[in-house]
């Protein structure tokens, strides 16, 4: 363990970073977004499998090379947005991004709130240079959702600042 009270490297986050969930290329994804943050070197590809009517995300996966924060964020994302509507996923992305962009001294996010265990990433606010690491998979998701609503496909995304 790094430290009992490290505000960034929480145990749950390290667990996702060391053992990422839904890591790998699924067969027949409907949407693929290759995202990268060239300034850090984080690269995450996000895959969505949609329900037949394209209204719901059946499952999502990711691959790529990234730091612990970005990897954990992607891993937690894929566990969170399973069997929910595109709208619900969009809302989650929005909530997540607003959470991590609050000022460093804002009160801690609530683990029992709608974001659930994603609140473990809230500590990233205290480390402004890492906000974009946590944000990358969610930016990819936002782009993927837009694509999903217009028929799916593959695209890429380069994020710069957050």
């Amino acid at each position: 363990m790094i430290s009992q009270d490290d505000e960034l490297y929480k145990e749950v986050l390290l667990d996702h970073a060391r053992h990422p969930r839904n890591y790998g290329v699924p067969s027949h994804p409907n949407v693929i977004v290759e995202s990268e943050n060239p300034q850090c070197g984080d690269e995450i590809t996000l895959y969505l499998i949609l329900s037949e009517d394209h209204s719901t995300i059946s499952s999502s996966h990711f691959t790529g090379q990234a730091c612990a924060i970005c990897t954990a964020s992607a891993s937690m994302l894929t566990t969170k947005i399973r069997n929910i509507t595109l709208q619900a996923a969009e809302l989650t992305a929005k909530q997540f991004l607003s959470m991590i962009k609050r000022p460093p001294d804002a009160p801690s996010a609530d683990l029992s709130g709608p974001l659930g265990s994603l609140a473990a990433l809230d500590g990233v606010r205290k480390f402004p240079a890492r906000v974009k690491c946590a944000a990358l998979p969610w930016r990819a998701l936002q782009q993927a959702l837009q694509q999903a609503s217009t028929g799916g496909g593959t695209s890429s995304l380069e994020i710069r600042d957050e």
Binding site: P38, Q39, C40, F127, P128, A129, R130, E158, R160, D161
Partner: protein, 419 residues
């Protein structure tokens, strides 16, 4: 001096205590620093902001993942926010740190002329500082553009607004104008000029080198596209300046300089750019310069920029009233008149039969710092028929007593040199 008690309207003399340099003797006399249009003195809070940075927070900015780098980065970005607030920008992305006003205009002269074609016109004025003239000459030469100039009415020292209208009909693409003339102290009707030009779709640039830190500035009210100034003329360090640009225009522009910080993805062949404002900040910036400038802005806002403006003006007017009485003295610009058009704390004058160099060198014998010369305004000086003038320019730490000393010294010079 006049018998009215100005002290109740003016800033208190004790403000001087904040400026360590002002307590020194020069050539055995108390320093009377009246070259504020060239550069200003630094209050202790600005010096402290810089030394604290060195002693506590120094690191390179952006992308550092350790404590000092985070601290330096936030200080740098907070400085950007302080400037954005001062100018009432809609976003702090609209603030680019440059080396100086000069660099800001060079950036614009380069980036905004990229897409112009041979024969396109740029409108300037006859009262521009060389920094708002020579960069356009260089760009015009390279891209075969034509420069036009709004004339200055030599008596009043103001722009010829009828001629301005006529020159607009030549359809310039860019109009770049100074807010306040550093040579004459004229305050241009900047909102009116900008709104007229913008209504015709002309890109507008304001050189605020003499107004920043001397007045409140509101870019949304001026409604210009770009605005530049230097930190050292407003209690800040040298080596730091500001370029304000409208977000959408900055986003459309290609970068000027390449290097670290301003890129996103780089291959050997080609690169993509960072978001604004970083796209225009290539290489390690002047970090302590930005921090020092923000400290200066906070200091000036606390005093109140409206009061500073009044203080500068009043001292210049007091000096003008006294000097106007001396037959050998000729005043240039608005303060030449008893009831001047809008003016700032800058007073240009000459003494008949004396070269300005000698006036200024002799004032120095009494500890008074004035500037002599063309004030980087050679074309304006030619227009006024003066090879050079002497200039006294006032700021918040100057006092009515210093105006007195200036007037007495001019009398002394005339008596000793001319008579």
């Amino acid at each position: 001096m006049s018998s009215i008690d100005f002290s109740q309207f003016l800033l208190p003399d004790k403000l001087r205590d904040e400026f360590p340099i002002l307590s020194q003797l020069v050539r055995g006399q108390p320093l009377v620093y009246l070259d504020n249009a060239a550069t200003t003195q630094k209050p202790q809070v600005v010096i402290d902001a810089i030394t604290s940075h060195y002693r506590e927070a120094n690191a390179n900015v952006h992308r550092g993942l350790y404590y000092l780098s985070e601290r330096a980065t936030s200080a740098y970005e907070e400085a950007r926010q302080v400037i954005a607030n001062y100018l009432n920008c809609s976003s702090n992305k609209e603030i680019i740190f440059t080396r100086s006003a000069t660099e800001g205009i060079n950036l614009l002269a380069n980036c905004l002329t990229q897409k112009l074609s041979k024969g396109d016109r740029i409108l300037l004025t006859e009262m521009e500082h060389h920094s708002n003239l020579v960069p356009w000459q260089l760009a015009a030469q390279q891209k075969q553009l034509i420069l036009d100039f709004v004339p200055v009415l030599p008596e009043q020292g103001t722009l010829d607004l009828d001629a301005f209208e006529k020159l607009l009909s030549r359809e310039p693409k860019i109009f770049s104008v100074t807010h306040i003339s550093n040579g004459l102290g004229t305050v241009n009707p900047i909102e009116k000029l900008v709104s007229r030009a913008r209504s015709l779709g002309i890109t507008t640039i304001v050189d605020a080198s003499q107004s920043a830190g001397h007045k409140p500035i509101n870019v949304q009210q001026i409604a210009c596209d770009f605005l530049v100034f230097s930190g050292h003329k407003m209690c800040g360090p040298s080596g730091i300046g500001i370029l304000y640009g409208r977000q959408n225009l900055l986003e459309q522009m290609d970068p000027w300089q390449g290097g670290g910080e301003m890129i996103s993805k780089v291959t050997l062949e080609t690169s993509t750019w960072a978001e604004i404002p970083h796209k225009f900040e290539a290489g390690t910036p002047n970090i302590e310069g930005a921090i020092g400038l923000a400290a200066a802005v906070k200091f000036l806002k606390k005093i109140d920029l409206q009061r500073i403006s009044y203080h500068d003006q009043t001292l210049a007017k007091l000096a003008a009233q006294e000097l106007r009485e001396i037959p050998q003295v000729k005043i240039f610009g608005p303060l030449h008149q008893q009831h001047p058009p809008e003016y700032a704390g800058i007073l240009s004058f000459s003494i008949k039969g004396m070269h300005a160099h000698d006036v200024v060198a002799l004032a120095d014998r009494k500890g008074i710092a004035l500037r002599a010369g063309h004030h980087c305004n050679q074309p304006l000086m030619r227009r006024l028929g003066a090879a050079s003038t002497a200039r006294a320019s006032f700021y918040l730490y100057n006092t009515p007593n210093e105006v007195n000393k200036l007037v007495q010294t001019i009398h002394w010079i005339i008596k000793n040199y001319l008579e």
